[in-house]
Amino acid sequence: MNARFSLGIDLGTSNSAVAANNFEEDEPSIVEITQILRPNQIGESSTLPSALYLPHPDEFPEDALKLPWVNDSRTAIIGHFAREHGALIPDRLVTSAKSWLSNFHVDPRRPVLPWKSEINEPKLSAFDCSRLYLEHLKEGFLYAEQLQGRNWDLSEGQIVLTVPASFDEVARNLTAEAAEAAGLGRVILLEEPQAAFYAWTARAGGSWRNQVNSGDIILVCDVGGGTADFSLIAISGKDGNLELERISVGEHILLGGDNMDLALAYTLQAQLESTGKSLDAWQFLALTHAASRAKVDLFNDESLAQAPISVPSRGSSLFAKTISTTLDRPTLEQVVLDGFFPITKVNDLPTERRSSGLQEFGLPYASDPIVSKHLARFLTRSLVNVKASDSLKAFVGSSAEATDYLRPTAVLFNGGVFNAAPIRKRVLELLTSWNGGQPVRELEGFQPDLAVAKGAALYGRHRATGKGIRIKAGTARSYYVGLESSMPAIPGFKPPIKALCVVPQGMEEGSELLIEEKEFGLITGQPAEFRFFASEVRSGDTPGQIIPNAESELEETSRLEVTLPAIEGLPEGQPLPVQMNPVVTELGNLELWMKHTGSDRRWKVDFQVRME
């Protein structure tokens, strides 16, 4: 393909953005996305809030919510107005659809969103929502370019879509499929922390090579509106010929800036209620907005001791009914810095999730709000992962033996939360305290809201032109297929499930394997099911290796299903010998195939959601 431009799409949990890089220009630029701002009004913004609103058929005049590229009156609204208006009518609002893609208690293809609402209109699935967001971003890009007098053919572009590093293969495949359904064709997937790192190298210009050294372990610390995502990138090589490898990724943590704003709003609400003032639901929302603004003002200007908060009522009487209070600095620091980023010990890990059988299968929000502890858990698990293989152990050297966690030497911050300098400072202090007082560097020059989209466009450019750096990554996890234990059934004793490693961690794009260690007998015409497991801390496992107790060692992610068609010349009901044949495509998608041992025929295995 002779690409003429690259497109970087950051499909975020709370905000999305697009950057385009015309190869005739040096740098990617952010695409201003046209969206509905109010009924009858459209305008542009550099981000598209990832919020979807399903209006009642009589709620707005016909065509009042029509985008320039839409010919029919569509039902769902996406973006700014959806978020602002929907906040007051939660029954019709979908947010965090992306996190539902990796929630395997609810089928991402089942129309259940808005979650637990009682509307009469048809609901949407997490997959539908992602497809609609991507469609809007695609059309928004084409429309913005048309206004500039340019008409692009998407097939002439290298399109890169970012996903959290914490997404497993099933969620990644769903995202890629949503992009295809949205008319983006086959996109390349890139982990968000890596995109942030590419953006940093571009922003630092040629000097980035002087800012990192061989032996550095860089922590990409990304805390956005709704999620926290961590990765480690190791630098090796010498004489300016640096090599980068992503050596560890974190788990999916639903904890972000929105939690901080809410915590502040609850604190202020208690403050108001103690003086006899009460707030309705709308005022609470306004209070959350005001608290967020006050937080930004106080964090940006260290000389301010407090920030005023005024919350109007819903009615038109502004003078009589406005409630006011102040947010003072000690309260802010106590709620945000000490509440979410306290200086904890590195062995102080988050309290485990509730595992009550009656738990509702909504989104698995982090039950421990302390980001410091999640970071400690990530760095502890990273060390376990790195120690598991000799090639990764080489990156950390002997220093790793002395500690219980993997020490980063530098940090790259990303995500809206780190706009605030005091929060960045606090995280650096935390890492320094774990490091026995030895400071950890901050890599300067980030742009937390738009860096991921820009980095993705840059990566697309590097791939299409063959120039520029590439981070060595491969699959972030290793994957396993459950094997039914052949032990005899004993009452009161559940035999352990063994698992076969089919995909090692770091399996590279454009490669495939044949697992010859184990042969499966599949009966044609009958669906066969397997349990599917993953781990992000077992870098040493090799294809074909058997893990004796899958349920305690690994994490179950989904179910695999395959049905072999009837084959000519083979009597029905007779088992057909097949072997696992994992493939990582050039675009970074993992596919599993069952290959007939006697011929070249093979059948693709589908990932199914594991229902409980």
């Binding site: 109010r38 459209i42 206004l147 502004l318 003078f319 006011s324």
Partner: protein, 217 residues
């Protein structure tokens, strides 16, 4: 797209200019016709003077108008030209903009309420709502910067090639540029206007500034 508001102003300025030229021409014709009526001969001089004054006023106004609306730069080439604006489009956009100030900064609530009934602390609390909200609107849709970076009260020299609409001279105005003086107000300008666009106005009725809110239980 940013040029849109300016182009629209241009479109509106021309019919406005035409209308007063037409009215003035009709008035001058009437005054001249009056001169032909014998009974009016006693008023020849005042009528002629009035007609002359009107003519001068029209000339001055048209010159002024030309200054106010310099020739616009050629519009950028766009792939899809927007459809011709429907009736009352400009008015609808102004209402939508006031609606924006109301939605974000409760400006209409603030101005329509009776301020005399409340003490300064109540007015102050309400003013913060208006200030934060309207400032957001200003920052989102305009890029407002001061015209002069000098401190108010200091001596400044107005650049020789200054734009007439950016500096207003007060006090004794004599001599040629560059002018020197004391800066009384630093002035404001906007580097761009990025207003939301109206999808359609439909009927001839103006849109609402803010809808009445009704909660369905």
């Amino acid at each position: 797209m940013r040029l849109e508001p300016r182009l629209r102003f241009q479109e509106r300025a021309i019919p406005k200019m035409k209308s007063y030229v037409l009215i003035a021409a009709a008035l001058i014709a009437v005054l001249n016709a009056l001169l032909l009526i014998p009974a009016m001969s006693a008023y020849t001089i005042p009528i002629a003077a009035l007609a002359l004054l009107l003519a001068i006023a029209v000339l001055a106004l048209s010159l002024f108008e030309r200054r106010e609306t310099p020739a616009p730069p050629p519009p950028p080439v766009v792939a899809k030209p927007p459809p011709p604006p429907p009736e009352r489009h400009v008015e609808a956009e102004v209402v939508a903009f006031i609606g924006l100030l109301q939605e974000k900064g409760r400006l209409v609530d603030f101005l329509m309420d009776d301020v005399s009934l409340y003490d300064d602390s109540r007015v102050g609390a309400a003013a913060r709502v208006v200030h934060f909200g309207c400032r957001d609107v200003l920052q989102e849709h305009f890029k407002v910067t001061p015209i002069s970076d000098a401190e108010e009260g200091s001596h400044v020299m107005i650049p020789e090639d200054y734009s007439v609409d950016e500096y207003r001279l007060m006090g004794k105005i004599t001599g040629n540029p560059p002018f020197k003086g004391v800066l009384l107000h630093k002035g404001w300008k906007t580097e761009f206007v990025k207003l939301p666009r109206i999808i359609k106005t439909g009927d001839k009725r103006l849109p609402s500034i803010a809808p009445a809110l009704v909660e369905i239980k």
